[in-house]
Symmetry: D2
Subunit: 348 residues, 4 copies
């Protein structure tokens, strides 16, 4: 649509698309709104739409993914995250000038543990608290998370510390429960091609954090996001968390090259998770710096007040002092790229 | 348990285990029954059980997987598959002397297409018909399968051709529907770590065919099976279907070495899928021979009466003449290893 | 060239090619001789050659490799290996009906050790003795081989046991020495893209066994062979020995799919090395069976009279009894494919 | 050795080691000299050395690599590179405060092409000029470099532009020629385990740039460096240039996590090559930033005055304006880490 197109014009174009039996996806941007079409069995004639008021141009998408593509929407998507518990935490926008840091323990273990971590990460400039209440674990006999009890603790963290909450949802039936407590729904790497789950979160009102699968190509990663957008939820944040290779000095190989590759092909923001991406505590901070310098829109970092006592993933988890150091370095590198963190804002 | 242990003795041991608050898993073998214990928070004293009547020995399992391990059950598991529509097809046993071949098209497209494929694969010695009614596709815009309509066609195939049915189930909610039509529930590679689905099929009365994930280590593969067994379903058939590597002459790299590796560590049977494992029609037969020679307990092969018109995966699908040639070669190699196929039996 | 083309006609075509400033490569086959052209800066006009006596057709090669391609030579190459010490061992032909087995210890350690292994592998049907006198080791402090002293022991093995000798050569300067003792020059996986070495063995009169590099694509593998052929040595035997992947249940992942893939694209024979390909003794025999069933033209297997005392690679080395069992199984599978081993011949 | 140990004391310890039949490797650091011992068949008694004057402590190395290990030398190695043509270019130290940038075209094509590139990269702050005179190419029919003629052009570049020269040497026989022209000998990724070449450059007086092999583990990478040090050349600069994985959005996957991993285990400096590491022009600058932020001691970047006309690798090569932009960003990120580039120095 043209930058000056009115809401009514956008609605009229969408109505026209729907009247043809297709699905219209209006995705607003800073300057103008893009409207994607899905459900068409083959190519459509651009002239069908180009004569409608407010339409700038009709573009035929050549990629297998459509709605996530820059061909459909050339402007960067800004994903606004709002606290579901109104007023509990400030909004945060992922994909804009602010580099958004999500931090917290691997799992919710107790109120005390979460409060300790939340206080620390808030003080260092994190805006979103991460912790798992439902944990997909390789072994059926490992700790699987506290479930709803854990979600309730996360809701307390939001209100008490003013942090937004991101936590994993593990199957379609589980989404409704997680939606009641979380501000961002996380789809984990193992579930990146769990299409039933992708469709379900695609029908949610919450933004989704989608982690790259361990052996997902870039195209598969974007197609997974496409599943979510195709259901009408355009608020997807991608996350690189390391892929599986022969290399054994880290648990996974953090593929930072996917960051500029995503930005070329898609309008969606992408953050990096150097904790899972390396699996080793002493590699987290260097790779966090590297991810920000490469162009990541944010970070997800595991922090625990006492990592050596964590029930899961302790060996890749920072303590508060290490996280504070990380944030100081990340803030300085972000500034070089014209970005800022909440840490900087807090201190002004 | 001792070979001569009575059913009452097995039941008594199980009751003792349950009375301690743990879970007992009785897995019968050709010679003797193994009883696995899960739910224990730490090591148990072997003496708790060794004095009970019928107990041969109590073994502490050292692997992260327990019930799938040879430490718990040293005899090969024989997985008996029965037609859910009684009398519609002969029972088949996977893991025994017979090399079991499962064949059919990628997707159920129509009754005619399935009947044509079923007639052909039956004539060449297949025992199980494979075809997808629910298809997990990389793109949300690709053909996603006929759903229940497809399942009904599969039920007709069973009755008409005397073939057992294996078909994929894609999420926990979907299992109940697939159970009503299929003799074996397939969990696809993309869902190998979909733990909600694994737990759900673990509570099913149907045998499960579990495909190895594209980047799953052997330990992760066995742990995924453990999820199913830990819920009480001990009838799991593993399937190697290629892993993701840098190699680009095939779509995936079929890792035949996992077959003897599984047999060393686990009592579960394992088959190979050279169709997905290579992704190229002219590589399917050589690798089918290779898989059988390496020790696979069976094969899963894509066959379509007219592969070039298949809606999905046509380039890796054999036509009936190619499948007939494959079966002839496979039968001869199986004979070298002291195994037979239904093809041989049919002709005697 | 036409099947009935005379030697003089072949020579005349070669002379014509050379007169144009290019290089001619005459490669005889069972039915007819193929002549490859290299050194041309761009496409040549087929009419330049098609009118010459004896020429069947002139084909423009579309692959990046030329001389190794089936486009240039459609018939399988039969690589004849002759004992350099005339009469010491019977000729063997790789790529024909006989499945050629090369076996022996990882390294030459002593005359006694080699004699013990040679006697055993000969008795079980091996035709070629393998053992390293120059060992490329990951550590500069590991045993690097006995050097020329080792080569002398290998020459004794040839005369005493009637086995041909294959051994590794590690750099261009080293080739001349190895040529004086070995019947086949081996280029190891780490040197697959050591182009100086490839060029040097390309000027040798000895057949070359070229191992696939640990992360070599099929195209790179064939291009490495092309380096050898482009220098005039057309006697190249390829060898799959496992590639590097994330999988950790074997040391490498033996990629048997490369066997039919090579056969589609190239006329060169290919054998498999299940010892390096798995790195684990109990996986060697199953994968040897698998390789033969998939279509390998031969095997390379590590055998030591007392593997647990081997100076290198003992954990992947068979003892004579294990090798005898392997050969029995391999012979039976080869028979299914219409092939035989020397073992069978010896017993007739 | 103790910080205050005299040269005579160092010499005396070395003499003692040699008198025992072992080899002594004195590696000076900023504060103190480390002396490594190789050639010992097994563990030595620390007391043999701890009583000698100037010795601080004797440490038994537990890693398979010794001389490259931080256990032997805890201080970072500073590798000083001097122009072999005295006074032609300023010395540069790799591993210290300065972030050293090596830039230039893939291959030497002509004097004009090199001068154009050299002028540009010098102006933007590069200290070392890179260009290949001997090119290891996948195809025997591709341009293989100008050879000595190319080396002579590089020598002119050094004198005319005051840039040090790094260029690849491809086999042991070739080293002597390259030594006569280059200030740093490059060992390419394909030759990382070409042990004959490693030993030969280990006997050179020139520093060596060692690129990581495409599927080399960290241990193999360090062991390759150990080959060089074990021959007495302690001036080794490591270089990460991407590894081979399933990912296809870049030509290789640049593994930045190896940078902090090397720094933990070894005292050697490590630089990154984002040109080969990504293989795509638009990914080079983001990954250059990422590498510097992660802790790389320098960069190697392909720059050509007219990349689209380059004879090789043009698609991954920057033009001068792109390189100037890269250097500006890299300088700013280096400053955050307390490092500087020659660019900054030039402008002060």
């Amino acid at each position: 649509m043209k930058p000056q197109a009115s809401g009514a014009e956008v609605a009229a174009v969408c109505a026209r698309i729907e009247s043809l039996g297709f699905r219209a996806h209006a995705m607003p941007g800073a300057q103008r709104t893009a409207i994607g079409i899905t459900g068409n069995p083959g190519p459509l004639d651009p002239e069908l739409f180009e004569m409608l008021p407010g339409v700038a141009e009709a573009i035929r998408v050549t990629k297998p993914y459509k709605l996530v593509s820059r061909e459909v929407k050339s402007e960067d998507s800004l994903i606004r995250v709002r606290a579901i518990d109104e007023g509990a935490a400030e909004d945060v926008v992922v994909g804009g000038e602010e580099l958004v840091v999500m931090a917290g323990p691997c799992s919710v273990e107790s109120r005390e543990q979460c409060f300790a971590a939340a206080g620390a990460v808030k003080a260092s400039g994190a805006r979103v608290f991460r912790a798992g209440a439902f944990k997909p674990r390789t072994s059926p006999y490992s700790f699987q998370g506290l479930g709803e009890e854990g979600l309730k603790i996360l809701a307390e963290v939001r209100r008490r510390y003013g942090l937004l909450i991101v936590t994993e949802t593990i199957d379609p039936e589980n989404v409704e429960l997680v939606e009641r407590y979380a501000d961002i729904l996380q789809v984990g790497a193992r579930n990146m091609q769990n299409y039933s789950l992708l469709r379900r979160v695609g029908r949610s009102a919450r933004p989704v954090l989608l982690k790259r699968g361990m052996s997902a190509t870039l195209e598969e990663f974007l197609m997974a996001a496409e599943y979510i957008l195709s259901e009408g939820n355009y608020n997807v944040i991608l996350c690189e968390r390391g892929v599986r290779t022969f290399a054994d000095h880290t648990r996974n190989t953090l593929d930072l090259s996917v960051i500029p590759a995503v930005k070329t092909l898609s309008h969606l923001p992408i953050i990096a998770d150097p904790s899972h991406g390396t699996g080793k505590r002493d590699k987290v901070t260097p790779l966090a710096r590297g991810a920000v310098a490469t162009g990541a829109d944010g970070l997800m970092v595991e922090v625990h007040a006492d990592p050596d006592r964590a029930l899961s993933d302790g060996f890749q988890t920072l303590n508060p002092a290490q996280f504070e150091a990380l944030m100081g370095q990340v803030e300085a590198i972000a500034a070089v790229l014209g970005r800022r963190t909440a840490r900087g804002a807090a201190r002004v």
